[in-house]
Amino acid sequence: MTKVIEIRDLYKSFGDLEVLKGIDFSVDRGEVVSVIGPSGSGKSTLLRCVNQLEESTSGQIKIEGYDTADPDCDMDRVRAKVGMVFQHFNLFAHLSVLENLTIAQRKVLRRSDEEAHEIAHRNMEKVGLLDKIDAYPNTLSGGQKQRVAIARALSMDPDMMLFDEPTSALDPELVGEVLAVMRTLAEEGMTIVAVTHEMEFARYVSDRVVFMDDGVIVEEGPPSEVLVNPQNARTKKFLQMILGD
């Protein structure tokens, strides 16, 4: 069975700063992976390399079996197939929620207006915000914005969803509604890679936890092992720090 994501020996530098230092990482179809690690360890950079928002310095990234370094590989198609949800939502401020969900469907997938609308409706229903479909982003709460951002990504029928700290910018009382949507996606079999500090999600929703530190994957495995009984000293220290005990 092909891996949805297959990364080998990935290096990424910004000028003199080496951020990813030899990452091997793969994800199976339907797998839910939580990536944890201290600030600056390269978690965002890893996600951004996966959907080609950053160009890697060396190494191999295969998405659905396609080598992204292959000049024949259409990067825009890859990005369209990899859904991405950002910490700060990044909704298109000048467009209504509906237009946020339809613009890329029409421009990239060349869907008709009716088809795009129908898919937008379906996804807004899925995130529980159908009544907000004609609203503008600035009228929504943070939690609602993030659910719209998820619906927007889903409208492209992605093969996988990448989440970069999707709840970090939210007030605590709004975190739950976003996690609930992510949990539903996971249950439906969506392939998910989520950078998150939500230990509930990492522990009970994900199939695997990856701990990154200083540009390398230090430890990975089922949450019941990595989170409960970490082997590496750095993992232990990090978990102690965020669990606050």
Binding site: N51, L53, D76, R77, R79, A80, K81, V82, G83, M84, F86, H88, N90, L91, F92, A93, H94, I103, A104, K107, V108, L109, A149, R152, A153, M156
Partner: protein, 264 residues
């Protein structure tokens, strides 16, 4: 301490009154010594003012607006191109646009108009085929484009970088994201400064008459100046000035309102 304060206030008031008296006396002297009938005759002569109409509107003001509109449209295209070149990932484009902007913002407009309108046709014969009217328009567009390029670039850079990333992550190309996501948001920021640029351009069209005019291509300033010579009277210039103000003051007001509206 308080007593000193009162004395100080009293001194300040005395100074203010003295200033007021001196200025009023000077103004009064000027008013009395002025030959008012002559001023009205040479500056605000109703018959000469009336004689300007309707041509000062149908020819001169119309030409001013045509020069402004064409110069602005051409300038906007140039500016958008230069702004995009300026933020391009290709270094050669960035450098080219950078020099273009520096050069045409650094030269006096009059020099550029003469250079493009008279210098280039001398150096490059094909330019002689371009009518003088269009040489003037090109010169205006080239210069206003250099100024507007920086305005547009600033507008693009005011859009949060996350917007480009979100567009890209949905599979849109850079060009699509720029066109459908970034520029529509940037436009809101740049409309007030572009309106100010338009006002400047209305006034700057007065310079292109140095390239020479026919009766049909005179704009407001040239019309006023020729009127001064023809009638030995300044009234045509005053009328032209009033028409400029009727255009520029409302536009400036609108631009300021738009800027103010954005919660400053």
């Amino acid at each position: 301490m308080f007593a000193g304060g009162i004395a100080k206030a009293r001194r300040e008031r005395a100074t203010r009154i003295t200033t007021y008296v001196v200025v009023s006396a000077a103004a009064l002297a000027l008013l009395i010594s002025t030959d008012w009938p002559r001023v009205f005759d040479k500056l605000l002569n109703p018959e000469i003012a009336a004689a300007q109409f309707p041509e000062i509107l149908t020819i001169a003001a119309r030409n001013t607006l045509i020069f402004t509109a064409l110069g602005f449209a051409g300038g906007f295209v140039i500016a958008l191109t230069m702004a995009l070149a300026r933020i391009s990932s290709v270094k050669a484009y960035r450098v080219f646009a950078g020099w273009y902007i520096e050069i045409f913002r650094g030269l006096p407009l009059l020099l550029t108009i003469i250079l493009i309108g008279q210098g280039l046709p001398l150096a490059i014969p094909v330019f002689r085929g371009i009518p003088i009217f269009w040489r003037g328009v090109i010169a205006l567009a080239v210069v206003t484009g250099a100024y507007m390029a920086e305005t547009i670039r600033a507008g693009i850079e005011a859009v949060p970088p996350g917007q480009m990333e979100a567009g890209r992550s949905l599979g849109m190309t850079r060009a699509q994201t720029m066109g459908f996501i970034i520029l529509p948001q940037a436009i809101r920021v740049i409309i007030p400064p572009l309106t100010n640029e338009f006002v400047l351009l209305i006034k700057d069209t007065s310079l292109i008459s140095v390239l020479g005019v026919t009766v049909a291509t005179k704009e407001l300033t040239r019309w006023g100046r020729d009127g001064v010579i023809e009638f030995a009277n300044a009234t045509p210039l005053v009328v032209a000035g009033i028409i400029y103000l009727a255009l520029t003051i409302p536009l400036t007001f609108v631009a300021r309102r738009m800027e103010g509206g954005k919660g400053r």
